[in-house]
């Protein structure tokens, strides 16, 4: 939109201008047109100079996943009974004062052994709705499109292509910590996991944004 510099012939646009230029003589006309072009070019230049910070401002939220994430404590590791899956909620580490209730994040902690955990995101791997854990049938069920997962997070049925997302975790002192801060989604999780293979990741390799 600022590229007005090409084609000096473009000046003859309307009959009235032509008439006016006839009256005023070629010399004046060429000077006025030159000044006009200079004006357009100046605006383009200033516009470009202002556009750079605007674009930078607009793209500010686009950052590396790792810069949004940090380790969050889910509380005492011994608060989670072995063999059970519990719903926990924590404050999102990346917040603004006006986030209100939206900075609450929930996750499911499954404790497999003394220091063996799996921390699942509550977001269904299909379209992100909050799955609900049913300890009686040992299933996670999604209320949106009917995705169902087994206790280990692998897909049981429904439209999801993969198992539930998991967070990286570590145990610091007595505290269970996870690497959180980002809404888990297919773009920040490692890869599509084959449906037939159990979507369990080994050890503490979660896939909620391990790209960072």
């Amino acid at each position: 939109m600022s590229e007005e510099s090409n084609g000096p012939n473009k000046s003859s646009t309307g009959p009235e201008i032509d008439k006016a230029s006839d009256r005023e003589g070629p010399a004046v006309v060429s000077r006025r047109w030159l000044l006009l072009k200079a004006g357009v070019a100046l605006n383009g230049l200033v516009g470009l100079a202002l556009a750079v910070p605007v674009v930078r401002y607009l793209l500010a939220p686009v950052r590396k996943d790792s810069s949004y994430k940090s380790w969050v404590s889910l509380g005492d590791a011994d608060g989670f009974p072995v063999g059970e899956t519990r719903l926990v909620s924590f404050k999102n580490p990346w917040t603004q004062p006006w986030d209100g209730q939206t900075d609450n994040v929930a996750a499911y902690v499954r404790r497999e052994g003394a220091s063996q955990f799996t921390v699942f995101a509550i977001n269904c791997a299909h379209l992100g709705c909050p799955v609900r854990w049913f300890p009686q049938s040992q299933l996670f069920m999604c209320p949106c499109h009917g995705g169902v997962y087994y206790a280990d997070g692998s897909r049981a049925s429904g439209p999801p292509e993969r198992g539930l997302f998991t967070y990286d975790y570590k145990i610091v002192g007595e505290q269970l910590q996870i690497d959180a801060g980002q809404m888990p989604s297919l773009s920040n999780s490692a890869k599509l996991v084959n449906i037939s293979s159990p979507a369990k990741t080994s050890g503490n390799d979660g896939d909620c944004g391990c790209r960072g």
Binding site: R63, L186, R211
Partner: protein, 498 residues
């Protein structure tokens, strides 16, 4: 009162001398249109514009109270609903106005398509119209976000998951959409900017361009079979038609527009008064898992389509289908810019429109019932019909407890209550033998998870003994004919159990 009339005239002249709009307005108002376009079929465009005005006015009124902050938006809506006098009514008018506007825009588009009105020289009018449709849907979606309840939160979550499927740039696009890593304060602020400034501004501008072209190019004449559009002759033919058989737009055609617009506005008002505002639902706290998110009406069909796609199709479909759909709409006037306008001679177009309409209706209807979703509260909230347990033995009763406690009910209905993900089990015993039931429960299959690891043998026995009782009176349960035969004539020296 001649004096008053005279002074009124003087004031008018004073303004007209300075504004000089009488001429252009007179031209627009009195331009001739073909007589047969003064039809009740041609009122949808103006109704859509009227609704746009209504939305702008009610939107501004709501913005007087609404707080576009993630922490306060939900509360301010509840205050509008419960404390501000008639705040609920304004919310309701805005919500119903939105539903009506989406509906009227779609009807307008269908009518234009059916009447071939997009053909030469009105291709650009159609193209702008496609963008107006997208903007209208954009307003509906961003408006749903501004409601900022659980449906809004998780609906946006679905948007995030759709965007995140874009190869390479998915993550960046998500951050751009949300204004950060999660749905939070920054997200609501930018959706407010979109809903209140960006989209309405563009929408209004494009709508004026659209109307400008309608005035400049003339209203599409009533299609006649056999009257073909040719680029070389159409304009002359149209001008001849308006000259020979034209009437001034005002009042000839405009009175129908006015009456229909008033009727639509009245319908919005009545719906608002009777049905009230939309939500807000539960608070936008993502740690509340007891929620069943559902999008607003215009997006229900997408919600349904997404649940029926096989897993392998999800990403390709989600990414490619919208592009194809929009490209298809944009291509319509360029693929068929000449030729027949009448639906009598355009079977493919009529069929296409009919299939789209039927498909849309079916998917929307499905999404209203969501048969694919487990009913999260069925296991603990839906009772069994008393007569199903009247003759029950203790074991059968215990099987019924397991049927409930293990969430079978969330996907399988009994007595009309429960999930519809799996088949209703009221007559399951007539379809499956106990062994088949056992096998199905243990191994799952199809869309059913395998329960082998989650049920103990006594639990399976009890469950199957309950399921065995589920058959209508007088209809015998299914049996394994080969086993019965083997039992009545035991083979010598052989065992019939594998």
């Amino acid at each position: 009162m001649p004096g008053m009339k005279q002074s009124g005239r003087r004031i008018y002249d004073w303004f007209e001398q300075r504004l000089q709009v009488e001429g252009p307005i007179k031209d627009a108002v009195l331009h001739k249109v073909p007589r047969n376009t003064a039809s009740w079929w041609y009122v949808f465009g103006s109704a859509a514009f009227t609704l746009l005005m209504l939305q702008i006015v009610t939107g501004i009124l709501l913005a007087l109270v609404y707080v576009p902050s993630a922490a306060e938006a939900w509360n301010s809506l509840n205050i509008l609903n419960h404390q501000v006098p008639l705040g609920w009514f304004l919310r309701a008018v805005h919500a119903w106005g939105s539903n009506f506007m989406v509906a009227v825009v779609f009807i307008h588009m269908a009518q234009v398509f059916l009447f071939g009105a997009y053909k030469f020289p009105r291709e650009l009018t159609w193209t702008v119209g496609v963008f107006l449709l997208l903007m209208t849907l954009g307003m509906a979606f961003t408006g749903q976000v501004l409601r900022f309840d659980q449906d809004a939160y998780w609906g946006l979550g679905i948007g995030v998951f759709i965007l995140s499927r874009v190869p390479w740039m998915g993550g960046g696009l998500v951050h751009l959409l949300l204004g950060g890593p999660t749905i939070a304060g920054a997200t609501l602020s930018r959706f407010f900017a979109l809903h209140v400034f960006v989209i309405p501004g563009t929408l209004l501008f494009l709508a004026l361009v659209h109307v400008w072209m309608v005035i400049k190019l003339g209203i599409n004449e009533w299609p006649m079979p056999g009257r073909l559009v040719r680029k070389s002759t159409y304009i002359a033919e149209y001008n001849q038609l308006t000259h020979e058989d034209g009437i001034p737009f005002v009042p000839g055609a405009f009175w129908k527009d006015l009456i229909f617009s008033a009727a639509v506005l009245a319908a919005v008002g009545v719906c608002a008064a009777v049905f009230g505002p939309a939500g807000p639902g539960g608070q936008p706290d993502p740690s509340i898992t007891q929620t069943v998110p559902k999008p607003d009406f215009p997006f229900l069909w997408i919600y349904a389509v997404l649940s029926y796609l096989p897993p392998s199709m999800e990403t390709p479909f989600i990414l490619i289908a919208p592009i194809l759909m929009i490209a298809g709409l944009l291509a319509v006037p360029f693929v068929a810019s000449e030729g027949e306008k009448s639906w009598h001679r355009r079977p493919v177009a009529v069929l296409a429109l009919a299939s789209v309409a039927v498909g849309w209706g079916v998917f929307t209807h499905l999404a209203m019932n969501t048969p694919w979703s487990p009913h999260m509260g069925a296991w603990s909230g839906d009772t069994l019909p008393l007569e199903y347990l009247r003759e029950a033995t203790p074991l059968v009763r215990q099987g019924a407890v397991i049927f409930q406690a293990k969430q079978c009910r969330n996907c399988h209905s009994i007595g009309g209550h429960g999930g519809e993900r799996g088949p209703a089990l009221d007559a399951v015993a007539t379809r499956m033998t106990p062994d088949q039931m056992r096998y199905k429960v243990v191994t799952g299959g199809g869309n059913m998870p395998a329960y082998g690891k989650n049920l103990s043998p006594p639990e399976i026995e009890a469950l199957v003994s309950f399921l065995e009782t589920l058959h209508p009176k007088g209809e015998p349960p299914a049996f394994d004919a080969s086993q019965q035969a083997a039992q009545s004539n035991p083979a010598p020296g052989g065992s019939n159990t594998p």
